[in-house]
Amino acid sequence: MMQYAIKRLLLAIPTLVAMLTAVFILVRLVPGDPAAVILGDQASAESLNALRVQLGLDQPTHVQYLHFLGYMLSGKFGMSMASGKTVMHEVALVLPWTIQLTLASLFIGVVFGLPLGVWAALRRNSWPDYLGRMLSLTGLSFPAFVSGILMLLVFAIQLRWFPVVSTTVNADWSTQLRNLVLPAFNLGLIMTAYVMRVTRSSMLEVMGEDYVRTAKAKGVRPMRLVLRHGLRNALIPIVTVVGLYFGTLIGNSVLTEIVFNRPGLGKLILGALNARDYTLLQGLMVVFASCVILVNLLTDLVYGLVDPRVKYK
């Protein structure tokens, strides 16, 4: 197991370096002089030159590349041009908000998605299954900002159950919880649709296996059959697929944070975009992509842990 983990870790390094290179190239796609883009048309020649030196744009490309790699690998992910603080500092400020939201939505997704998926699989091709499939496909068709806006309209503006703007940084915990409900359900219901769909197909596959039939023939009680023999084995692919969903979850949480005006990584990246803070943007891309690579790595390792059949080649 240890050997497998180390090998898998080493395999992630080339991907990491290639990802960094991709970000480096991406940021240099800006047509024209980045310094001019940042400072605008009115900038004087001196300030343009000063910014070029500050950004290292006066250096040859390969030197810029090495500097860039250095910044990123040092763990600070570079400096924000607008605030002058490190990207890591900016991220740390808003990270608790994003983690709060993500965990709450994961919780909602699992609590609703797993039982619904199992239920749909057991009632296959009957009306609960059709209804469930239709609902989960609808949930998956919602862009996160669309569902967010509709929830905002209904529950915050029409019914006034929840606040329209959920930025109260220094609120007590009950207000914070109230602020969290709508954004968390917005992300969580999309997550539910996804978990439900994956659970259904995974359960269908497992319940058709020989060992489930054997257990049934031996007279195992239905509840135990579904939970011990069915769901426990069905969980393996579910873990993998939910891990793969992480990238989409990030995108959806960015949109959710914008709609509900919640502080977090999403608002941070939007702010960087509007302020043309390319160094912050570049740092954030690296942070997000590193998270995805890390989650993929963890998913692989968890897969290895829960499934004894995985052979560590």
């Binding site: 900002f145 269908l204 990030i250 960015v254 709609v259 992509a289």
Partner: protein
């Protein structure tokens, strides 16, 4: 994967199979056909000019004259919605087409040539997959600048990876089959073998994936437009309509609700169709359903 029919004409049959077996796919097909028709005949269907501003009719709710109300410039929401259909479908379709062409070409090459080339292409796929789709699209669109072409390029790049994968796996299986060997023995070059012997066998897989990813492309387009990286104003797109409507969300619900429904219906139609198609061509679910 090697169980895919070896006849090139196989690409037409799964659509028919899907429609026969899955009633929901009809809903998707009818919805999608109506949306395409609306896009094609937009100038005839739209009751007003989508760009015509009229300050006298600002922010009016739905009425007989303006069925879905007017926006803050007094423009007719229904007409803008109808013209927005064109942008969504165009961006979705062209972006997926580009991703499909580049992705499946790379996938076939990776599978057929193997070795170093394969490792290089799959490395590229890993890198693409390490970026959250929306953020990659956002970054590329922001770097290139907001325009229709750049939006299409940005979305196409985010969707290359799945097509590489779907083309690579069957290629590896197919290149060892007898009919490919036969072609090789006849002296056909690798280009011809890949194009004539391997490609036709996966067209249906790639097209099915295309319909599912077109749904995703339309969603990404709407999200980027909502963020402000879409086709620049005053052109009407669903995402930018929601963006503008969001500013007046407290007193003009119709500005956000109707474009939201339009996006949802379009994406749902494509998903319903794509889902049924995928079931139809997947040998595993096919035998399950029989």
């Amino acid at each position: 994967m090697s169980a895919i029919a070896a006849t090139p004409s196989a690409s037409a049959s799964p659509i028919w199979q899907a429609l026969k077996k899955n009633r929901l796919s009809w809903v998707g097909l009818v919805l999608l056909a109506s949306i395409v028709l609306i896009a094609l005949f937009a100038p005839w269907v739209a009751p007003h000019d989508p760009l015509q501003q009229n300050i006298a009719y600002r922010l009016e709710g739905p009425s007989a004259e303006f069925l879905l109300g007017t926006d803050s410039y007094g423009r007719d929401v229904l007409s803008r919605l109808i013209y927005g259909t064109r942008v969504s479908l165009l961006v979705g379709f062209v972006a997926v087409l580009i991703a499909m062409l580049i992705g499946s070409t790379l996938g076939i090459i990776a599978g057929y040539v193997g070795g170093m080339v394969d490792r290089l292409i799959m490395g590229l796929v890993d890198v693409l997959l390490s970026f959250p789709t929306l953020l990659l699209g956002l970054m590329i669109a922001a770097m290139l600048g907001a325009s229709l072409e750049n939006l299409i390029i940005a979305i196409a790049i985010t969707e290359i990876a799945p097509f590489v994968r779907v083309a690579r796996a069957p290629t590896i299986a197919l290149k060892q089959r007898d009919f490919v060997d036969a072609g090789r023995a006849l002296g056909y070059g690798p280009m011809r073998l890949m194009r004539v012997h391997i490609l036709p066998n996966m067209v249906s897989d790639v097209v099915v994936l295309g319909s599912l990813w077109m749904a995703s492309a339309i969603r990404t387009e709407a999200a980027l437009s909502f963020i402000g990286l879409g086709v620049p104003p005053p052109a009407a797109t669903w995402g930018s309509m929601i963006r503008e409507g969001f500013e007046n969300i407290l007193d003009a619900w119709w500005l956000t609700v109707f474009p939201s429904i339009a996006i949802l219906l379009t994406v749902l139609a494509l998903n319903l169709l794509g889902d049924a198609l995928r079931d139809a061509i997947d040998p595993k679910t096919r035998s399950e359903r029989a």
